[in-house]
Subunit: 480 residues, 2 copies
Amino acid sequence: MTDTTPDEVDRIARAAKDAFAATVRTDDRTRAAWLRRTADAIDADAAALIEVAARETALPADPRLVGELARTTAQLRLFATVVEEGSYLEATVDHPDPSATPPIPDLRRVLRPLGPVGVFAASNFPFAFSVAGGDTASALAVGCPVVVKAHPGHPETSRRMASVVVRALAEAGAPEGVFALTEGFEAGLALVDHPVIRAVGFTGSVRGGRALLDRVAARPEPIPFYGELGSLNPVVVTPGADAARGAALAEGLAGSFQLGAGQFCTKPGVVFVPAGSAVEAALPAHLLTPPRLLTPAIQDGFAAGIERVSAVPGVEVVATGEAGDGPAPLVAATDVATLREHAHALLEEVFGPFTLLVRYASPEELLAAIAALPGGLTATVHREEGEDVAALVSHLEEISGRVLFSGWPTGVAVSWAQHHGGPWPATNTQFTSVGATAVRRFQRPVAYQDAPESLLPPALRESNPLGIPRRVDGALVVPR
Amino acid sequence: MTDTTPDEVDRIARAAKDAFAATVRTDDRTRAAWLRRTADAIDADAAALIEVAARETALPADPRLVGELARTTAQLRLFATVVEEGSYLEATVDHPDPSATPPIPDLRRVLRPLGPVGVFAASNFPFAFSVAGGDTASALAVGCPVVVKAHPGHPETSRRMASVVVRALAEAGAPEGVFALTEGFEAGLALVDHPVIRAVGFTGSVRGGRALLDRVAARPEPIPFYGELGSLNPVVVTPGADAARGAALAEGLAGSFQLGAGQFCTKPGVVFVPAGSAVEAALPAHLLTPPRLLTPAIQDGFAAGIERVSAVPGVEVVATGEAGDGPAPLVAATDVATLREHAHALLEEVFGPFTLLVRYASPEELLAAIAALPGGLTATVHREEGEDVAALVSHLEEISGRVLFSGWPTGVAVSWAQHHGGPWPATNTQFTSVGATAVRRFQRPVAYQDAPESLLPPALRESNPLGIPRRVDGALVVPR
């Protein structure tokens, strides 16, 4: 038993608050150096980390965990670049304009760190959305201390990673208490309730996220809760695409929905195909024998989800793979009428190696089916040149955070333009948990009115000593 | 009785959703034209609007309501400029980078409108935070239809303004249903519960805001709630400033805390002065006879607040003005020990013409008192050159959305750098309800992956046809 007691959580949270008194004043280069040092330390310990994680999660070491670790250190380095570039501060300078109504004084706005952040690690990415994952990296980047609640699915990985991070940050000169790990269900509750915690990041199920969201909403002082929750990730294959490359699409789909044994929040969970499609014909040949799922709870949830879907009249099993240590992968199929009639049973995410084909007979029927979908992280269209998908796309962009044309939604790039979020139940806010703008979750604006130069943060001083992009009197100014 | 029934709210909300299908595709110049037409129509009806508002609110027509109306049309025109400038879209283009981990595809991100927005009008600004106020202007600017819940304190003003707005928008070619007014308590509840409403803006009391926030949090699909609530707006007068210009500061303070009969969310409600200050000595000479307060409930709340504060042992009345149609303005004073001991009674906003002087004996005592303050919209420092206020400022910026040096917090400029928000209970989010960035509340990101040029929003097309600032491969690019 290694659960962190509520008293220990209290001590850790207060230490994070003490650390914040220092981190709030650090300059961007200093924090960038912390992140790079942490990335280097993780790279140096990669072999051991991957070995422990592979044992705990049953995810294959190579390429899966090797790639995920590389992505994790790439994230840390991206956020170092983001804070050094400086736009993330949204520095804005208005010089006085006495003729305005009301008159405009000297007014300067910048984004500052929120304070200590609680991070709930995910089960399915033991590195990239866990102890040193995107939430931790983006919070540290802007100067927010981080208290992680480990996922119980990979405790040894979490502890090893935490010790790498703690040591790297200490060696880089970061203040004590700027990062800490907690474990256990009660510790998580104590963390979201703690008065010094100023925001919570969470990656996990809709049910777990909703429970924490409600708990955060009941605090005397509300704080932002950033949940990255469930998603169906609809895929549409047009008649033209099916005719031109149905077999190849089936292979791609099989790879995507079975990747990591289907345990991705971006797994394509519902696929719209023309009736009698080549995709459906070719798919059964590509089913794999997956490893065991991440946790017993996920294993049970998968079995229950399969049962729920299969029990719907009008749903048939198209193909099953072979069960190994994990459950047999499964592809089911239905028609649009059944989907709409049983939307409640069929349009809830099944976490694991399952996808549902929905056969449509006409473009109108396809649009009617799409209209029944809940919000999600992604939506994908496979089409041929010349097919008119404008109406389809306009609906998909209303219910999705990322719209893909060709390709598959698994494998989320970490870059400036990425958005990993979407309408409920994908997330509960308008923010992303992946990509450069993830830092904005942990910042708040402060404006300074008629401040003497010496009391302004460097980002706002008249001479722009940091040399960062700023908005001055309404116009963006980018230093050369 | 003119309450909007829940059925009518449903019809209005559905019409807003229908309008959204059109507004989501409008270009920025079109929406800017709607806003400018609306501003012009309000200006044209200014005399009548001001006459009705003066009668309903008891606020003086000139300069108060004349200025507020000018500010309201200035807000509409600022948001027109903001959307034409284009940065508000945060357009971001990443070209493919196959060498990244994971590989980066062609990825393009833009902010899109959230959907229909509910706006709860405030009592104290019948124009600027009401029917055609900042929430309405910023939501319409980005393409979100607006359903306003009128404040019962100025129903005729609300109706007249709504008819001006509806006519102006129709004349400008905006779709039917893009703007509507509702009235009544039950209508407000129906509005925040309605499934098509994608965000709620609210300006009002902490109690009312907290109740609505809890109601929004209980929706099956959570949506953002933007509450602009209560604030104490602490002011610190240093010994140097008191010695140099105590009498002038007293006059300025008197003007600020009695402006609009003290019914501003930025009213200075607690003022830290050196023991035996010139400010305290000079203040009694400047008390006014205020008009009646905005509503009977506010009148009652003021009386209760005064009673609560006066009942605290160690609080003395320094000065009272004369009661006219409204209550007598009141200045009380206490010391730091009493403030800390009775923080609960003394540090809750009293809405109306009241302020509390807190006499401090030393810089250390001042800092200890500041540490007891809750979050707020503003904090103000009056100091002299050479006085070291760094520690003070560093605490104030942690609990405030705007830090002023000299000047008074009332009179919130509408500009690019403005921030009108702050830690709870000032607001419950990291957003502003005044200034250019207020639009961000009503937008959500969507990323497009490997999209054909013809299916991309114009803001993201390779040639940048809108000519807006964009981030391309990590670097900000501002067209000349």
